[in-house]
Symmetry: C2
Subunit: 91 residues, 2 copies
């Protein structure tokens, strides 16, 4: 799954701090294969969260964790997230 977001420059430091907390806690969750934050080289306000989960159930459980609810609630006020795109890995 990929979730792109655009962050106003003045919120970037705080947003990266929040993602730091989210990434640390999420990687401890069962079923989390990959949880990485990327930043566009030509535009640091453009972020991309790349997630890989063992199953849809693991992903669903993730969205109910306290760290997800708290951090995403705060992120929603600081960045503009695009709709999540769900991919299957084929190769």
């Amino acid at each position: 799954m990929m979730v792109g977001s655009t962050v106003p420059a003045e919120h970037l430091d705080r947003v990266l701090e929040l993602y730091g907390r989210l990434v640390t806690e999420t990687r401890k969750e069962p079923g989390c294969v990959r949880y990485e934050l990327l930043q566009r080289r030509d535009d640091p306000r453009e972020l991309m969260l790349v997630e890989e989960w063992e199953s849809q159930e693991h992903l669903d459980a993730h969205t109910r964790t306290p760290h997800f609810v708290t951090v995403v609630g705060e992120l929603d006020r600081l960045e503009r997230a695009a709709p999540a795109l769900i991919y299957n890995r084929v190769l």
Copy 2:
């Protein structure tokens, strides 16, 4: 780096076959950390190539390999690729 592409349904089988060859050969290259093909769950015509390289030099060398030149030349006739987006992993 991420490269999205849209493939007309009638070319999808052939395009996946070409990517199969590209992925197999590319993963043998020095400096290739990750080279994966994803397909949108809600629209199989939407592909995303996710690449991670140890350095820009490794990526540059990749684009000069015979398999890259041959396969991408054929892919260009069958799919519509978006501009490559280059990211740094920050978390």
